[in-house]
């Protein structure tokens, strides 16, 4: 069982990222510049999960034609930008995806 020690290490990393900020980090340690750049972390990391999951098939090949996930994601983006609701974004994407593959 390789995954157990890995789960524990990942747990520690997650814990310490929160602990660092509560117990050790001080306001003075962050210049406005560092804060500005850190605010881009979600924009920099989440697309690395999002894009391959949409544009690649299960074998890792690019899938552009006949890929309902692309249109469903676009619908989710539009709904998300206008509604600003996390839950509406997820359901708009899933509903249009299901509509395209089942109906």
């Amino acid at each position: 069982m390789v995954e157990w020690y890995l789960i524990i290490y990942c747990g520690l990393v997650t814990f310490f990222s929160r602990f660092l900020m509560i117990a050790i980090l001080k306001k003075e340690m962050f210049t406005d510049r560092i804060r500005e750049v850190l605010s881009f972390v979600p924009s920099a990391i989440f697309p690395a999960i999002i894009f391959p999951a949409i544009f690649l098939d299960t074998t890792g090949d690019l899938l552009i034609e006949n890929n309902p996930k692309i249109l469903a994601s676009l619908i989710a983006v539009i709904v998300g930008v206008f509604s600003k609701s996390i839950i509406a974004t997820i359901f708009a994407g899933l509903a249009s995806y299901w509509y395209m593959i089942f109906i």
Binding site: V2, E3, W4, Y5, L6, I7, I8, C10, G11, V13, T14, F15, S17, R18, F19, L20, M21, I22, A23, L25, K26, K27, M29, F30, R35, E36, V37, L38, S39, F40, V41, P42, S43, A44, I45, F46, P47, A48, I49, I50, F51, P52, A53, I54, G60, L62, K69, A72, S73, A76, V77, G80, V81, K84, I86, I87, I90, G93, L94, I101
Partner: protein, 230 residues
């Protein structure tokens, strides 16, 4: 009701509306973990030990793709680096907390709990204000563990052709949808996404998450500097 439990329940009610999107997220995690062949116990252990939605999903994706431990660990670290951002404000308000409180709260405080804890701590002068963070965090914990269990249960029932794994990119998409209104963020998103997509097979050791994220952040560094010069 004692003052402490009053503050605790204030934390619970403050964070409750934010739990709505967490419910499908937790269920999706459970379903996906079972689909990928993890046991119920391992899945549950992840939710208890790691207790961080984005970290757990990244872990699953990379683990099932056969990434090494080092890559998984550093990718989880990168996902968590966004937490450091909150440090600047939060540590100030928690400086008089006992160390045991700091440890307990560090375990419990996920994004949603941070969101309600920060404005409360900013204005509260109550000596028991730590109970607010505790209440908010414990609520997140209970919801996350319950939805993981539901997901584990559903994972063995839901047919694979329903394509529920598509909910993963949608969930992350929902988390950055606000950033789509800002030009620099859009550029960063597209660059990171393209590098991850085209680097998926090419970049060795499944390091595509790290490579894409650092590239995106570098672009942000350059573009914000350029903006600042104007």
């Amino acid at each position: 009701m004692s003052n402490r439990s009053k503050i605790f329940f204030k934390g619970v009610t403050d964070v409750s509306p934010l739990m709505i999107p967490v419910v499908p997220f937790g269920i999706i995690f459970g379903v996906l973990a079972i689909d990928l062949g993890l046991t119920s116990i391992t899945t549950m252990a992840m939710s208890i030990i790691i207790f961080g939605g984005a970290s757990q999903i990244i872990f699953l994706q990379l683990f099932s793709a056969g990434a090494s431990s080092l890559i998984i660990l550093s990718s989880v670290g990168a996902v968590n680096s966004r937490h450091l951002l909150y440090g600047a404000v939060l540590s100030e308000h928690m400086s008089d907390f006992k160390m045991t409180w700091k440890i307990i709260i560090s375990y419990f405080l996920v994004d949603q709990a941070f969101a309600v804890t920060n404005p409360y701590l900013k204005k509260s002068t109550d000596k028991d204000k730590a109970f607010h963070s505790f209440g908010a965090g414990a609520t997140c914990w209970v919801i996350w563990q319950t939805t993981t269990i539901i997901g584990i249960f559903l994972g063995s029932i839901i047919p694979e052709k329903l394509g529920l794994s598509f909910a993963v990119p949608l969930t992350f998409l929902a988390l950055i949808v606000d950033d789509l209104r800002k030009l620099i963020n859009v550029i960063v998103i597209i660059i990171s996404g393209l590098i991850a997509t085209f680097g998926y097979e090419i970049i060795p050791f499944k390091a595509y998450v790290i490579v894409a994220a650092t590239s995106g952040l570098t672009v942000a560094l350059i573009l914000t500097k350029f903006k600042g010069l104007k």
